[in-house]
Symmetry: C2
Subunit: 355 residues, 2 copies
C-alpha cells in the first residue's frame, strides 16, 4: 500500500474525464438505435464546434494514425507532391504515411524540438498539391504556428490542401480549420477529449469535402460521410467511446476558453517547476500538451522514471532519436490547476531525490 495515489502523466492516454467513465460503465448499446445515433450526432457536432469548422468531423474506429492515413488517402492521389517538415516522431509519421501511399514527399528535416518557420515555406519551389503539418509535436513538446504556416503556404500554392496533425492540440490549444487556412486535421479520443484510445477523428473543411476522392475500403471517407450524416458509421463503431466523447464534450465545450487557459497555465507551471530545479526544456516553442525536459545530466531515463514511479506517477521518455535523452509529462487529462501544483511538487521531489 503506497501513500501516493496513482497519477497518469503521459501525453495520451490520459486520466479519464468522469463523464467518460460514466459512459463506459453503462450496458452495451447497439449502434443502429436512436439512442446511439443521438450520441453519434452529439459527438460529431461537439467536435465540429471544437474544431471551429463549417465542414464536418468523421469519427473513425481506430487510432489517430488511422485518421491521418485516411486523410492522406482520400485527399491526395499517388504521385502528388506534398511538403512535409519533419521535426519529431509525429511529423515524421506524416512523411511515412505519404510515402507508403505513393505520394512524392518533399521533406524538410529540422532538429527535433525546433519549430517550422514561415521562411521555410518561402524557400519552396512548386508545384505542390499539399502540405502535411503538425500542430503540437508531442514527441518534443513543440508547438508550430500552423495558422501562419498554412496561410503562407496557401499564398504561394493556392490550390494546395493543408492537412494538420492536431492530435494533441484539439481541446488543448485554440484550433480552427477554415479561419486558419487548414483544410483537414486529425485527432484521437485519448488526448484532449479525455477518453480511452480507440477513436480517430478526421476533420474536413468544406473545401476538403469538395476535394474528397473516395478511396480504400475501411478508410473510405466518402462512405463514412454518407453513413455518419445519418448518425451511423460505415463499419461497426466503438459506440461506447462515441458516447463517452459526447459526454465529455457536453461538459468541456461550454467553458472551452477557460479550459484552454487552464491547459496553458498548467504547462507553464510545470515548465517553471522543472526549470527551478535546473532542467532544460526540449522545445523551441512550448505546446500546452506536453512538458518535455532533457534528462538531468548524469542520469538515465530509467532512474527518472523510477523516481516518479516511487511517487505513484507514470511518465514517459523520448521516442526515436530522443529516446534515452528526454522525459515527458502531461496534464492533458482530467485535472485542474491544483493538480498542476501537485505535479510540480512531485516533479521537484522526484528530481531532487536523484541528488
Amino acid at each position: 500500500m503506497s501513500v501516493y495515489r496513482n497519477r497518469l502523466l503521459t501525453p495520451g492516454p490520459v486520466e479519464l474525464h468522469p463523464k467518460a467513465l460514466e459512459a463506459l460503465s453503462r450496458p452495451q448499446l447497439h449502434h443502429r438505435t436512436d439512442e446511439a445515433r443521438a450520441f453519434f450526432q452529439a459527438a460529431r457536432e461537439g467536435l465540429k464546434q471544437a474544431w471551429n469548422t463549417e465542414g464536418e468531423v468523421l469519427l473513425l474506429t481506430g487510432s489517430g494514425t488511422l485518421a491521418m492515413e485516411a486523410l492522406v488517402l482520400n485527399l491526395f492521389a499517388p504521385g502528388e507532391r506534398v511538403w512535409v517538415p519533419v521535426h519529431g516522431k509525429f511529423s515524421e509519421r506524416w512523411a511515412e504515411i505519404a510515402e507508403s501511399l505513393g505520394l512524392e514527399v518533399v521533406r524538410k528535416d529540422l532538429e527535433w524540438g525546433r519549430v517550422v518557420k514561415p521562411e521555410m515555406v518561402e524557400e519552396l519551389s512548386g508545384p505542390f498539391h499539399g502540405a502535411l503539418l503538425t500542430h503540437s509535436e508531442s514527441s518534443t513538446g513543440a508547438q508550430n504556428d500552423v495558422r501562419t504556416l498554412a496561410q503562407t503556404f496557401k499564398s504561394r500554392f493556392p490550390n494546395a490542401l493543408v492537412v494538420a496533425d492536431m492530435v494533441t492540440s484539439l481541446l488543448i490549444s485554440p484550433v480552427a480549420l477554415e479561419a486558419w487556412g487548414i483544410d483537414a486535421a486529425a485527432s484521437g479520443s485519448q488526448k484532449g477529449t479525455m477518453c480511452p484510445p480507440g477513436l480517430g477523428y478526421a476533420a474536413l473543411s468544406p473545401r476538403a469535402l469538395e476535394r474528397l476522392k473516395p478511396r480504400g475500403y475501411y478508410m473510405n471517407l466518402a462512405k463514412e460521410r454518407k453513413a455518419q450524416a445519418e448518425g451511423e458509421s460505415a463499419w461497426t463503431p466503438a459506440i461506447n467511446l462515441v458516447a463517452a466523447v459526447a459526454g465529455v464534450l457536453g461538459q468541456v465545450l461550454p467553458g472551452l476558453e477557460e479550459h484552454l487557459r487552464l491547459k496553458a497555465r498548467q504547462t507553464e507551471l510545470l515548465y517553471r517547476a522543472g526549470e527551478s530545479v535546473g532542467l532544460k526544456p526540449v522545445p523551441e516553442v512550448k505546446s500546452p500538451a506536453t512538458t518535455c525536459f532533457y534528462l538531468p545530466e548524469g542520469f538515465r531515463y530509467a532512474q527518472v522514471k523510477e523516481a516518479f514511479a516511487r511517487r505513484g506517477a507514470t511518465i514517459i521518455g523520448g521516442q526515436g532519436i530522443l529516446k534515452g535523452k528526454i522525459f515527458r509529462i502531461s496534464l492533458m487529462g482530467y485535472s485542474d490547476i491544483y493538480d498542476a501544483y501537485a505535479v510540480a511538487e512531485l516533479m521537484k521531489d522526484a528530481l531532487q531525490s536523484l541528488g
Copy 2:
C-alpha cells in the same frame, strides 16, 4: 418505468460480460507499461487458444472489417485470383474488399441463406491464389462447413491461402486454423468475446505468417507482429478493450467446450420457439450465432421490432436484399440457458401480440 428489463439481442454488439464492464470501469492505463503488456499478452494467448492455432493473433484497433481488409492486403497482391462465394452481407464484404484492393475476384453467387457446398469447389478451374470464406454468415444465420470447404479447396489448389471470416463463430462454434486447413481468420471484440466494439482480431497460421507480404501503413501486419511480440502495438491500441478481452477470456476459456454447447443449445431453443409459433427459419444450415426468421406473413419489420421493444428487447432486421424480409435475434452475449428460455417466451409473446 417498464416492468421489463432491457435485453440486447442483436448479433453484435452484445450484452457485455461482467469482466468486460469491470475492466472498462478502471482508471486509464498507459499501453507502454508492464501492466498493459501483461493484458496484451494474455489477450493474444487466449485468442490463440480460442482459435486453436500455433500461429498468432494480432489485435487491431478498429472493427472486424479492418481485420478482414488487413488480412487480404497483407496476404495477397493486386492481380491475384481469389474465389469468393457470396451468400449474404458479410460474404459479399469479402468480395468488395478484394475488389477494392485490386484482386481478381471469382464470385460464386448463391441465394442468401444458402450454404456453400464442396461441389462448388470441384467446379472451379484454376489457378487460384486463395479463397475468402465466411464461417457464420450473420446476415442470414447460416453456417458454412469451412473445414470441408478449406480442405477441398486446398486439395485442388495446394498453394492457395484460405482466409475465413470467423467474426461470429469464434467462441460461439468450434473453430480451428491449421487443423481445418484455414490459413487466416478475422473476428472482433463485440461478438463471442462479449466486449464492446473497437478491436478487430487477425489470426494467422504459421503458414500465413510465412507468406505475409507487409503492406499498408496502419494495416501493416508485419509491423504489428513485431510490436505485438513485445506486448505492444504499432499504433496506440484500444488498451481498455484489450484488458476487457483478457478478463473475459480468462473466464470463458477454462470451460470452453461447455460454453460452445450452451451457445448451440440456446440457438436450438430459440429456433424451436419460433417454429412453434409458425415462423420460418432463413438459413439452410443454422449458425449458433444468430437466429434468423422470415417476418410472419402480413407484417412489416417495424411491427415486429416494436413488439419486442415493448418487452424491453432490442432486435435487428435484415441487411441488403433481406432488409424488410427477416428479423434476427442472438444470445451471443453474456447469457445462460435460462436466458434462452426467457427470450423464447418473450419472442412467442411478442409474435402472438401481433395476432
